[in-house]
């Protein structure tokens, strides 16, 4: 009895001490640790209640893109912990390594290529350990392989794949340096890219929606295995592990707040317990980081040669720039912008700022990668009671003195607010623009951004829009609409447009329009 009481007291005292440590907030049943996390870690959430029971710490995950997260950490984000698929980019950023007080790898997942079984069988790639990145590039160049990959400037899986491909093509055997980035073979390889996305999870969803027109995608092994185990795929994906090398995400949990060292040690010790590592493997299809827990039979046993990662930020940034400006299929971004009367004043100003940032006004790292890129086509459709102006721009020069960007800037500065809100007429006009452009330029990656601050009150209604949309040619219908909620826009109306077209909704009420447009650029 007295022993029980003592235990109880010790527990309560421990909780009291834990609650009093700096930088954290006391919850009802433990201490909350804020964690800046990559979106693919959503699949870890089912483990968190058990982690809290065992350690007393509640992890509260806030999801951001990997590059965005790295930039926030360097800029002094106050989260106690961070958890991304990789800490390498952060470590390369000036001031980044210093922000990591401790790190511990939790789980592993290589970035590989999933190819539809029939396609892989036709190419002789099924269970073939000798396929190389060059083999994949050759099929892409020949127009026989259309794949999805995330934007390397926004998401780690695309970034890691880009490094792998570039290194394999450089054929030096060593880590990439600036002089060995060869755009030629990269262009061949990425001529097969038919789908982009700002996150690995969205890429998987988008692949499922467009699976009939694609042959595969580059993503984490864990995501590909999960899709294969599920029922959403009409055709299973065979996993191809290129022989010349792959890169593995190692999901380090990072301690940012030194005063939380004890918490960090307890949380990582729990996550690295053998039975938890096994559970992670079974529930997420990621490989255990704890060496004594061996990967089970869901993973192939072949040796995966790991490619070195570039050692300098300059090389990494140059590689991303080569991808965006030269190697990837160029984008055609269609912006459908509400200039109704309610946009008058600060709302119109934020819209202008968001667009001006894309022409070079945002000099942050993520801002630089989000800018309009070389070869990009931009269509701006302005609407109020009707579509009243459509302007096309082509960006070839991206320098600060570029006349292409200056033209966009001076146009944006003419925007004026007035009139009603004909959302559906405007979106439909965007689809007609996309359809016409596709006839002459089928290899661009098309996207529509719809920004509105109100509900539809004139022109087509939603049912008429849906009927017209479904009569569009298949390729135009495949263009996704990314809808930006602003002001008094109707979440339901925008969600319907996004769901119908395979896009998604961004909230410009809680985040700035500049941030939202920057995030959306990862999907364009």
């Amino acid at each position: 009895m007295s022993r029980l009481l003592a235990t109880l007291l010790a527990g309560l005292l421990g909780a009291a001490v834990a609650c009093s440590t700096g930088g954290t907030t006391a919850g009802t049943s433990g201490t909350t640790l804020n964690v800046l996390a990559g979106s693919e870690l959503k699949d870890i959430e089912p483990l968190l209640p058990d982690l809290q029971r065992a350690t007393g710490y509640q992890l509260k995950l806030t999801y951001v893109g990997s590059l965005d997260g790295a930039e926030r950490i360097v800029n002094g984000d106050h989260s106690q912990l961070a958890w991304f698929s990789s800490a390498k980019y952060l470590s390369l950023l000036p001031g980044g390594a210093e922000r990591i007080a401790a790190q511990e790898k939790i789980m592993l997942s290589p970035v590989v290529m999933g190819v539809k079984h029939s396609v892989a069988a036709r190419f002789g790639w099924t269970n073939n350990p000798n396929v190389t990145w060059s083999d994949i590039a050759a099929r892409a160049r020949a127009g026989e392989l259309h794949f999805g990959m995330t934007n390397p400037a926004a998401s780690n899986s695309g970034f890691v794949a880009l490094v792998g491909v570039a290194e394999a093509f450089a054929k030096t055997g060593a880590a990439l340096d600036a002089g060995t980035i060869d755009p030629g073979p990269l262009k061949d390889f990425f001529s097969g890219q038919a789908l982009t996305a700002g996150s690995s999870g969205f890429l998987a969803t988008a692949y499922v929606q467009s699976q009939d027109t694609l042959d595969g995608m580059i993503n984490y092994e864990s995501i590909l295995l999960s899709l294969d185990q599920g029922s959403q795929l009409r055709e299973k994906l065979d996993l191809v592990y290129p022989k010349d090398g792959i890169a593995t995400a190692d999901y380090p949990l990072l301690l940012l707040d030194r005063s939380q060292r004890d918490a960090f040690d307890k949380v990582t010790a729990w996550l690295r317990r053998p039975e938890i590592q096994t559970r992670i493997m079974q529930s997420t299809n990621r490989r255990p980081a704890l060496p004594e827990v061996k990967p089970d039979s869901r993973f192939p046993s072949q040796v995966l040669v790991e490619l070195p990662f570039p050692g300098s930020l300059d090389v990494v940034n140059r590689l991303i720039a080569v991808y965006l400006d030269q190697a990837r299929p160029p984008a055609h971004a269609i912006f459908v912008l509400d200039t109704s009367g309610s946009m008058q004043g600060s709302r119109l100003d934020s819209l202008k700022r968001a667009l001006l940032n894309l022409t070079g006004g945002d000099t942050t790292i993520t801002g630089q990668f989000a800018r309009f890129r070389q070869r990009e086509e931009i269509t701006i459709i302005l609407f109020n009671s009707s579509v009243y102006q459509t302007r096309d721009f082509t960006v070839n020069d991206t320098s600060s003195s570029s006349p292409d960007l200056a033209a966009i800037r001076s146009y944006v500065n003419t925007f004026q607010a007035g009139g009603g809100t004909a959302i559906y007429d405007a979106v439909y006009a965007a689809y007609q623009v996309a359809g016409r452009a596709m006839a002459t330029q089928p290899n661009r990656l098309y996207s529509i951004v719809l920004m509105t601050d109100g509900e539809n009150n004139v022109g087509r209604d939603s049912s008429r829009f849906l009927a017209d949309y479904h009569r569009l040619p298949e390729n135009a219908r495949a263009v996704r609409t990314f809808a930006v909620l602003f002001g008094e826009a109707s979440p339901a109306q925008l969600q319907q447009v996004a769901d119908t077209t395979g896009g998604t909704v961004f909230d410009g009420r809680t985040a700035s329009l500049s941030q939202v447009f920057k995030d959306i650029s990862g999907y364009q």
Binding site: L9, L12, A174, A175, R261, P291, V303, E306, P308, V315
Partner: protein, 365 residues
């Protein structure tokens, strides 16, 4: 109802706090006042400092030792040492630099460990067949001069004769930590610069500058390197031969796993010793009086020496170390004869900044 429960809990909590305060005042739990001591250490010693048995010895002596980890060169340059009672880098050059800068009176060298290379038996045998390593029965020795010749011509694994074990197109390279921050990389640089300098320790800046381009590819071709020695060793253990076929480690890291019969270590994993090698002398620099107490205890307390042996460290008294390994059924590590001294901190610094400059100038020479 819930309010009553809340009151009861608050009462219980208050009682708990009182009990705890009384207990600590009356000395039931601790013999005397325990002072908190804050140290900054190389990450390789973190498991040792976190060991409850080690903590208990410190507590028994009135010390509550807390540690942060940092790379050795970071400790000597960028870490704000005013927050700490002691610094405990893994190598003598950084320790001597800290000692001089902070006017510490003494240093303590409670344990040391030779630099080694963790690899896999098929890799070791492939290196033996290509005259880069020799089988010494139980361990291998790794010919640094032959290795430098391979790196000079940027040999790939596929260039090695008779290679069916590891047909990878990437360069033959030892994986090390970040040469700019970590002691084990500085020790690796010490070995490589000695060999590149014709079998002499680099003792002046002119020689250091001459040798720099010869050793730079060892580091620059690796690309990104981790800042702590534990990281690539963990990659070796969990990701394995595909990522890190050969990794520069402290012998202690490997021995500790062997001695504890850790399941992470498979029968394929073997140690090679570079010829020549250097000893990493873990050197504690006291910055405040309480730090001095930690250093003295580590060097003299028989329990702490025994515990250090558990982590694979050679102790001041070799008997402690050998007895422990024997009790665990682990063969004593070889008596290394070809052991050199690392260059002084300033020459290491010249080479490190030189490699850094080459990296900025456009990469691999």
């Amino acid at each position: 109802m819930s309010r009553i429960l809340g009151l009861v809990l608050a009462g219980v909590l208050a009682v708990g706090v009182v009990v705890a305060i009384v207990a600590s005042l009356s000395g039931t739990f601790a013999p005397r006042q325990v002072v908190r001591v804050q140290g900054v250490i190389g990450s390789e010693k973190q498991p040792f400092f976190q060991d409850p048995a080690v903590q208990a010895v410190f507590q028994r002596n009135g010390l509550d030792v807390r540690v942060d980890t940092a790379g050795s060169r970071e400790m000597a340059t960028s870490v704000d040492l005013s927050r700490y009672d002691f610094a405990f880098p893994a190598g003598a050059p950084a320790a001597l630099k800290i000692k001089t800068d902070h006017k510490a009176k003494a240093t303590y060298e409670p344990f040391y460990t030779p630099m080694a290379i963790a690899t896999f038996r098929p890799i070791a045998q492939l290196l033996v067949a290509n005259h880069i390593a020799t089988d010494e029965g139980g361990h291998y020795s790794f010919d640094v001069q032959a290795y430098l010749a391979l790196v000079k011509k940027n040999a790939r694994w596929t260039d090695l004769a008779g290679n069916t074990a590891y047909p990878a197109g990437k360069s033959v390279l030892l994986t090390s930590t970040d040469y700019r921050t970590s002691n084990s990389a500085a020790m690796y640089l010490s070995i490589a610069s000695y060999v590149a300098n014709g079998g002499n320790v680099v003792t002046d800046d002119a020689t250091a500058r001459r040798v720099t381009p010869l050793v730079a590819p060892l580091f620059l071709r690796q690309g990104f390197a981790a800042s702590s020695t534990e990281e690539p060793f963990q990659d070796y253990l969990s990701i394995g031969i595909g990522k890190t076929p050969m990794v520069v480690v402290y012998e202690a890291q490997f021995l500790a796993l062997q001695a504890s019969h850790d399941r992470a270590l498979t029968s394929d994993m073997v140690l090679m010793y570079p010829t020549p090698t250097v000893l990493s002398k873990h050197t504690l620099v006291p910055l405040k009086p309480n730090g001095d107490r930690v250093g003295r205890l580590l060097q003299t307390d028989p329990d702490l020496q025994r515990l250090a042996a558990r982590y694979g460290f050679h102790t001041a008294d070799p008997g402690t170390f050998n007895a422990y390994l024997k009790a665990q059924g682990v063969a004593a590590p070889p008596q290394l004869v070809n052991v050199i001294e690392p260059p002084a901190y300033d020459q290491l610094e010249t080479m490190i900044t030189g490699v850094e400059q080459l990296a900025k100038d456009g990469g691999t020479p």
